[in-house]
């Protein structure tokens, strides 16, 4: 979805595509960008100077994620549980805690033609996706159109990806699971105050429940992509729908125009 939109819009606009699905980024498989820089993404985790510590336990008390254990004569830290909030080092009465960078992933930047591209990759075995998403989002300077590919669901990384967008395109499927997750996503984006619309992927004979929901909730169904072997084949070969079937490029351009009308601004965000 995000890649097709990017490929359709880049003819006439300055487009930045940010792949914020950092647990399994895949936009690059379709965009095939030239990656020009790679940098590390790290969060600050506590480093304890045991000689300064008097084991008062304040750091452990304030840690919402139990990433520090204070014992009678030592302090144990669990960097893999740390969210990097900095409360422990800030509140330590003896300045015994400094912040040490702890690598959780990487940021890759590049481009394809006049398309600006950035993607985040969470390292294998790491659970803290949100800081990587945040880093990827910093790569947009806000000019032109920024398309953000978010992961599915409504977890913290999704909220981080979607927050601050002018519009959120919710891509769903006509199944009970699709409808369940869509309803949750709608609730989330509404709470964030972001207008939204729906794309039904693999649309076919069983769209009725989904369409009834959208009607009831007054959410526009902006596009339907049918369950079609030809489309699936293109996808499996890493070809966007906009590139593989020219008539779809026109539809994506029309979709983008609708989104810009609905958002009232020339900026949008897509979510898978």
């Amino acid at each position: 979805m995000a890649t097709s939109l990017a490929r359709s819009l880049m003819d006439d606009h300055r487009v930045t595509l940010l792949d914020c699905d950092v647990e399994e980024p895949n936009a690059h498989l379709f965009i095939k960008p030239q990656i020009t820089s790679t940098e590390e993404v790290a969060i600050p985790v506590p480093g304890v100077r045991q000689d300064r510590c008097n084991h008062c336990g304040k750091c452990s008390e304030v840690c919402a994620f139990n990433a520090i254990a204070v014992l009678a004569d030592t302090v144990i830290t669990f960097p893999e549980l740390c969210h990097g909030c900095g409360a422990c080092s800030h509140l330590c009465p003896r300045q015994a805690i400094s912040e040490i960078p702890y690598r959780i992933g990487s940021l890759e930047k590049g481009g394809a033609g006049n398309l600006e591209f950035a993607m985040g990759k969470l390292d294998i075995g790491r659970a803290m996706a949100t800081p990587v998403v945040r880093k990827v989002k910093q790569q947009s300077d806000g000019s032109g159109i920024t398309l953000i590919d978010a992961s599915p669901g409504t977890s913290c990384p999704v909220i981080e990806a979607v927050n601050g967008s002018d519009f959120c395109l919710l891509v769903t499927e006509p199944t009970p699971f699709g409808l369940n997750d869509l309803a949750l996503a709608v609730e989330a984006v509404r709470r964030l105050g972001i207008p939204c619309g729906v794309v039904i992927n693999r649309a076919g004979k069983s769209d009725a429940a989904l369409e009834q929901y959208c009607l009831r909730e007054n959410i526009p169904v902006l596009l339907k992509i049918p369950l079609d072997l030809k489309i699936a084949c293109l996808y499996s070969e890493g070809i966007t729908l906009a590139d593989g079937l020219p008539e779809w490029k026109i539809r994506f351009k029309q979709l983008a125009e609708r989104i810009m009308e609905l958002a009232g601004e020339r900026s949008c965000n897509t979510q898978r």
Binding site: S60, A64, F65, N66, A67, A69, V70, L71, A72, T74, I76, F78, L81
Partner: protein
């Protein structure tokens, strides 16, 4: 020295709870006198790191050993660093388990016997 037992109920006739970090309560017991107190586990409801929170909570009771069913790597690390013997694989009636412990019938486990999030139930880790 006192020992902590993850408990499914508030008496010595309760079962040993198979979970450490997510266990509802601990029985803190002096094996010599069999005098005990019941300690509610405030670490149980932690969003993450329940084993670490629980370990710190029970360490305040000045214990020398923990009897439980299963203990994950983080809790094991905290308890071991505090010099507490961690005995896993314990099940059944608490009074019986304490008797076995008193006769040196258990050997401490040198490492965690289960992985992270064991006590959260299968498939509910996320």
């Amino acid at each position: 020295m006192n020992i902590a037992i993850s408990a499914s109920g508030p008496t010595l006739d309760s079962e040993v709870n198979p979970r450490f970090g997510r266990c509802e309560q601990f029985i803190i017991l002096d094996p010599e006198t069999m005098h005990f107190t019941v300690l509610a586990n405030t670490g149980q409801s932690a969003g993450g790191g329940a084993g670490i929170a629980t370990a710190q909570h029970i360490l305040k009771e000045g214990i020398g050993a923990v009897l439980t069913g299963n203990c994950g790597p983080n809790a094991h690390q905290v308890l071991s660093a505090a010099g507490v013997k961690v005995i896993t694989g314990v099940s059944g009636n608490i009074r019986d388990a304490v008797e076995v412990y008193k006769k040196d019938g258990y050997s401490p486990s040198g490492q965690a016997n289960v992985g992270d999030h064991f006590g959260m139930g299968r498939g509910r880790n996320r």
